[in-house]
Symmetry: C2
C-alpha cells in the first residue's frame, strides 16, 4: 500500500497518510455513484480502498440502454464535487434546467422557474458519464483498486468479511477488511444480511407507491438539435399520472411515464397493445406523442419498474460495517435528490471523519448515522410529497398562486426568502430536515392565507413577505408547543 495521492486537483486533499492510524483497509461494496465518490474521497485521504462492483466497467462496455439515462444534479451534489475537486469536470456534463415546462392537454406550455433567483437552477446529467468520471478520478489514486464483475452475496458483519461471486470465473471468494462500507443500492447485500441474521434489532421499511414507471425517449431532431425546449424539466401533469422529460447532451430527451399499475382508465396492467398505448398518449399527451414516433417500440421494449422508499436503522454494526447511499435510504425520484443525497452522505461522512476519526470506526459510524439519518428520512418524505405536487398540484390554481407569490418573494428578496423547493435544492448548508420543517410551514402559511383572503397575488410584496414570515413562525411555534417536532 502506498500513501501517495496522484490527484492534486482538490484544494482540500488531506496530507497523504493522515488517516492511516486507524483501520487502513476499507472495502467498498458497489462502484455506483455513491461508491465511486466515496472511493475517491477515501483515496484522497490516504486509505487503502478496494471496491467490488457486480457490473462490468461501464467505461469499457457498451451498455447502450444506460447511455441516455439522466438524473437531476444540483447544489448538494455539487458540494461533494467541490470537496473532491472535480466541479469543473462535472460542469461539462451538465445541461442547466431553469424550471419546469408544463404541458397541458391542448399542447400549451408554461415555464415555471425553479427559483426567483436567476443563478439557481438544476442540471440534467448522464448517470453513466458522471459515474465513469468518478471511477477514473478514483483510480488515479494508487491506493484505490476497483474490481468489476464481482457480486457481493452476503456480509459477515461479526467477522468484517464479505462473500463475493466472480461473474467471469464463477468462483466464490471471501474478502476481509478493517471495515466494510456498502454502497450497493436499494437491494443492498449488507442490509439483507442485517435483516436476515436477526442478531440485533433492525428497524426496516420498504414502501412501494401504487405507481410504477417506464422510460421512453424523444430522439434528437434530424439536424442533431433538440425537438423541444432544451433547458427545462418538461412535465405533463395529469392528476393521477404524469410524463416527464429531461434533456441529454446528444439532443435526445429521456422521457418517463409515471402511472398506476392497476387503477384508473389507463394503467400499466391494461396498456397491453400498440393501439391502446397510442390511444392513451393521443388522448392525454398529444404534443409529446408528436415528438415520439418511436413510442410504441420504447413502450414494449423497456421494463416497467416499481417506485419504492427504503429506510432502516441502525446503518452500522459496531465499527465493522456501514450502509451508505441508497443501501441506507432509497427514495422515490420526484425531488431529483436521490443522487444528490447520496453524494451529500459522503460530504457528511467526511466531516464526521475530520472530527471523530481518532475515536475509531464505531464512533465515526454511529455519529455519522446520528447526524445524517434525520435528513435522509426527511428527503424520503419530501420526495413522496413532490410526487403529488408534480402530477397534480402544479396544475392546481391555488398552488399556482402560491408558486407565483414565492417567485416574486425570491426575486424581490433574494436574501430574504427561499421556497421549500429552494431550501431543499439550492441551500446545501441547510439540512433536509430543517428545509422540510420550514418549507412545509411556509407552504401551509401561504396556502391558508390565500384561502382566507389574507393575502393575494395583487398585494404589496413586502407586506406579503412580512405576513408569510410571521405566520410561518407562528405555525412552527404552535407545532413545537404541541410536541409535534
Amino acid at each position: 500500500m502506498n500513501n501517495n495521492t496522484k490527484d492534486s486537483n482538490s484544494e482540500k486533499v488531506f496530507p497523504s497518510g493522515e488517516d492511516l492510524d486507524g483501520a487502513q483497509n476499507i472495502l467498498i461494496i458497489g462502484a455506483g455513484l455513491c461508491g465511486s465518490l466515496l472511493a475517491l474521497r477515501l483515496g484522497q485521504r490516504g486509505y487503502n480502498v478496494n471496491v467490488y462492483e457486480m457490473r462490468p466497467d461501464l467505461r469499457k462496455t457498451d451498455i447502450s440502454a444506460g447511455r441516455s439515462i439522466n438524473l437531476a444534479f444540483s447544489d448538494r451534489g455539487n458540494k461533494a464535487m467541490k470537496l473532491v475537486g472535480i466541479e469543473d469536470k462535472v460542469k461539462e456534463l451538465c445541461i442547466p434546467m431553469n424550471g419546469r415546462m408544463l404541458h397541458d392537454k391542448e399542447g400549451n406550455t408554461f415555464l415555471s422557474n425553479y427559483s426567483g433567483r436567476d443563478y439557481e437552477y438544476i442540471n440534467s446529467i448522464s448517470r453513466g458519464e458522471l459515474n465513469g468520471l468518478l471511477l477514473t478520478e478514483a483510480e488515479k489514486h494508487e491506493n484505490v483498486s476497483i474490481h468489476f464483475n464481482k457480486k457481493c452475496k452476503s456480509v459477515d458483519f461479526e467477522k468484517t468479511t464479505a462473500l463475493f461471486k466472480d461473474y467471469h470465473t464463477k468462483d466464490e471468494f471471501i474478502e476481509d477488511a478493517d471495515c466494510i462500507i456498502a454502497t450497493d443500492g436499494a437491494g443492498s447485500a449488507l442490509r439483507k444480511s442485517y435483516y436476515l441474521e436477526k442478531k440485533f434489532l433492525f428497524s426496516f421499511s420498504q414502501d412501494y407507491l401504487t405507481h410504477g414507471y417506464k422510460e421512453l425517449s424523444i430522439l434528437p431532431a434530424e439536424d442533431g438539435g433538440y425537438k423541444t425546449y432544451k433547458n427545462a424539466l418538461h412535465i405533463w401533469p395529469r392528476g393521477d399520472f404524469m410524463v416527464i422529460a429531461l434533456p441529454n447532451l446528444d439532443g435526445s430527451f429521456t422521457v418517463t411515464l409515471f402511472l398506476s399499475y392497476d387503477e384508473g382508465e389507463y394503467n400499466f396492467n391494461n396498456l397491453t397493445t400498440p393501439e391502446i398505448v397510442t390511444e392513451f398518449f393521443q388522448k392525454e399527451f398529444p404534443d409529446a406523442l408528436e415528438l415520439m414516433p418511436n413510442l410504441v417500440d420504447d413502450f414494449f421494449e423497456n421494463p416497467t419498474a416499481p417506485l419504492g422508499t427504503v429506510k432502516c436503522s441502525p446503518w452500522h454494526y459496531k465499527g465493522n460495517t456501514l450502509l451508505m447511499g441508497d443501501s441506507a435510504h432509497a427514495i422515490v425520484p420526484f425531488y431529483g435528490q436521490g443522487m444528490n443525497a447520496s453524494f451529500e452522505d459522503v460530504v457528511v461522512f467526511d466531516k464526521v471523519l475530520n472530527t471523530h476519526k481518532e475515536k475509531g470506526w464505531e464512533t465515526v459510524f454511529s455519529e455519522y448515522e446520528r447526524v445524517r439519518k434525520p435528513d435522509t428520512d426527511a428527503i424520503a418524505d419530501l420526495a413522496i410529497d413532490n410526487f403529488h405536487e408534480m402530477k397534480d398540484h402544479v396544475a392546481n390554481p391555488i398552488f399556482q398562486e402560491k408558486r407565483k407569490i414565492e417567485m416574486a418573494l425570491e426575486k424581490n428578496f433574494p436574501e430574504g426568502y427561499s421556497s421549500k423547493y429552494s431550501l431543499v435544492t439550492f441551500n446545501e448548508d441547510i439540512g433536509y430536515r430543517k428545509a422540510m420543517l420550514r418549507g412545509r410551514a411556509q407552504d401551509k402559511a401561504i396556502l391558508n392565507m390565500l384561502a382566507d383572503g389574507v393575502i393575494s397575488t395583487e398585494d404589496d410584496i413586502k407586506d406579503i413577505l412580512d405576513k408569510v414570515k410571521t405566520e410561518t413562525e407562528a405555525i412552527l411555534e404552535d407545532d413545537r408547543i404541541a410536541g409535534l417536532h
Copy 2:
C-alpha cells in the same frame, strides 16, 4: 360438515349456513385472541373452520408464566364480544380501572381518571382466561375444529395451502382450504411468505423503539387482597423510562418496566447485578420496591423483550389469503389497544362480509383492507405517541393543565366533548384515524391556547368549550387546505 350452531347467545347470529354459497373451508393460522374470536364468529356464520395453533391448548396446560399476564380491555374489544354474544361472560373476567394512578419519586400518588364520564373506564383482563373462553365458545360449534401443537412454517398463497409441523409427531403436513386467514401474530408465517417470495410488491415495515420491557410482579397481600389500589392502572413516570402495574383477579399485579436498552444512567444493558437493580428501584421507584420483595428474582428470571411496530400492505393475496390482527399490524402496548384493535378487525371483517360476500373472497379481502388499514395505521402511531405521554407528559405541568381542562369538559358536557383518549378508547363507533386527527387537533388547540394565555384552568368552562371547538376546527381546516390529510 354440519351447519348447526350450538351457541345461541348472540342476537346477531346468522341463520346457519347462510354464508355457505362461497368458499366453505376456512383455515385459520393461530388460535390466539384474534384467531379464536374469528373462528367463533365464522363458526356462527356457518363456515367450516379449521384452526391450527403452534402452542398446546392453554386450557389444559399449566403455563404458569402466562397465568397473570393481563391486558387492557375496552369498548372496541367489547363491541366484538357483543357481536359474538359473550359480553356477560367476559365481564366476569374484568377488573375495572377508572384511571391512571401516578406515583412520584417520593411515593405520593395522584389518581387521574381516564374520562370525566363516570361510566367510562378500561379493564384489566387475563390474556389466558379470555383466550380460553374464546376457544371454548368456538369449539361449541361442530363446524369449528382447533388443532394444537401444529406450527405453520410457510404458506403457498398461489395454491392456498399451508405447511405445518406437528410438534408431537415431528411430521410435516400440508393443508389446503378455500381461503386461509393468518392470525399468527407479529411473527406471522404468512407475512414472511409474502415478504420472501417477492411475487408482488409488498410494502413492509418493522420499527423498534430504543426501549425494551420486562415483566415483574407485585404478589397478593398475605390476606389475599391487593397491596395497592386495585381499580387503577398504576404508572411511575420518570421521563426517559417508566414502570406500570395492572391488577389481576388473584390479588397480584403484573408490573412492567419500560427502559432503554443502552441509554441513560440505568439501562437494560447495565442492570446486570442484584445490587444495581435494587439501587435503581430504590432511587427511582422506592414505593414500588416496598411492594416487590420478589423484584430481583423476577428481574433475572424474566426475559427482556423488544417493542416493535409492524405495518404492511397488501394484507391479502387475491382471494386466497389474508392477514388479520397482529400479523397485519403489530403495535406497541402504550394505548392499551393491541387486543382491542385485533378484536375490532373481526367486527369490521364481519361487516364487510355482510355487504360483499356475494362478490367473492377477493372483493371481501380487498374491501376489508381498504376500510380497515387507515385505522390500524392510526392506532400504531397513536400507541407511539402514548409511549411519550405516559413516561413523560403525564408528569409535565402544561399537559396536566390540559388534562384537568379536558376532565372538566367531559364532566360538564358529557355529550359535547371527548378527549383524544376518550375518542380512541370509549368511542367504538368512530374509527381510530378519525379519532387521531380530531384528538391531535384538540390537543394542539388546548396546549397552544394554554401557552398563549387564551384559556386557563380558572376560566368559565363553557367559554373554554367554545374556544376549544372553534380552534380545533380551524386547525383541521388549515391542515386540509395545506393538503396535510
